[in-house]
Symmetry: C2
Subunit: 246 residues, 2 copies
Amino acid sequence: MSSNQLKVGELARVTRLTVRTLHHYDEIGLLRPSDRTYSGYRLYSPEDVRRLYRIVALRGLGLGLEEIGEALDREGSGAREAVQRHLDELEQELRAKTDLRDRLARILAGLDRVDEPATTDYIDAIERMTMIERHYTPEALAKLEERATAYGPEQMQKVQDDWAELIAAMTAEIKKGTDPADPEPQRLGARWRELLTLFTGGDPEIKEGLNSLYREEGAEVASRGAMDAELMAYVGRVHEAVGEGA
Amino acid sequence: MSSNQLKVGELARVTRLTVRTLHHYDEIGLLRPSDRTYSGYRLYSPEDVRRLYRIVALRGLGLGLEEIGEALDREGSGAREAVQRHLDELEQELRAKTDLRDRLARILAGLDRVDEPATTDYIDAIERMTMIERHYTPEALAKLEERATAYGPEQMQKVQDDWAELIAAMTAEIKKGTDPADPEPQRLGARWRELLTLFTGGDPEIKEGLNSLYREEGAEVASRGAMDAELMAYVGRVHEAVGEGA
DNA sequence: TTGCTCCTCACGTCACGTGAGGTGGC
DNA sequence: TTGCTCCTCACGTCACGTGAGGTGGC
């Protein structure tokens, strides 16, 4: 009868929560109304209201309902510990999501200056960039990124074409069965090293990333079908034979 | 019969996914195996595998399975748009969580220099800080924070005590029925303005925050029971009567 | 016949939103 | 009697994990 008891709807109104939310807290035992009318209406006492405000305060900090229940029941500095724990988790989540955000941004930037925008399969490009990111260090990626921006799309395309031409020429020699030490393969080999140096810029981190990429994924996958194991083996022999032809 | 068909377990192994995950993708229609054995075993074709790799790539970027399905089926640059949209959402989430992180950190810092650490009700302190944060701008909060750090706990405690003393003295005058224009209330009123200026440091943002706090929440709530409406009204009359007693 | 792989349910997760269907109080 | 509030189910959300209970293949 005491007029300071509140029915669900009233409590919902003053706290700006929904009735369903209060039902839910009742269901899971987080906030049971201390009384009911004979017809089953929930009646919340001032103490219940007090507890609800505490629940809402902790919920506003992102704590889970179960954690909140424990913190409220343990009292003392239990809340402090719960908040601290929650902060730690949040920090970790933030680090992970920040990394993801950076990856997404890099990928989108990459997609925008991708070789042939019209025919390009975007998801394919995403897969490639994901693969690349697994092998290069963040610093190496930053350098590659920087370089790509500096070069501009036409230059990048030019380098791509140069590689395609070189690979075609080298493959032709393989088909002809030319000895790796012969002048033409040697000339192509020198060109190969030249383009490689152009790519790595002599940077050891980029070199290591590139090696890791081809070692772990295999030439075919790493080059997305542009090269294969046979080609790589032949090029290897060409490099080994440097000077022998003289 | 072609040996490039994979059973679930095999596909799970090479992709490092679980069998349940593949079942799930089948259930929701994201990746249906293109064939089954007569006994019902799922058989994944190389094309299915290809699709799965694309799914995994997009999933790794945090896209939802439904979004992934749409992006894969729309093809073209649908993926690009989906990734861009996802990035936008992620940015927003990051902003919100960063804010929350800062709030949590501020609250914990506040809890650590709270008046009486032993008897303090932490959740109560959290509620108070939450209320405070609703009324001060971030800049004002930063200034208050900075000042509290500069003052140190003893100074803060001293100021608290000064206020308590002043409130008690003012309340005593109310009980005695002293006229607001009388010398003693006027002396206390001057002290009141002095302590207020000490708190606001003359900063207009802090002033506005404080006003908003007492206006919106009421003196009793804002001061956590230290003051009430009657006291505030009396103090108001004291301030209005400045100079009249002379 | 014994392991191994596969199959299809089906519950649980987190914090409620959203009805459905029905009853008490002014 | 008519609105308004209240009540108790119960499904759905997101991407699976984790059994349960049973069957096919070497």
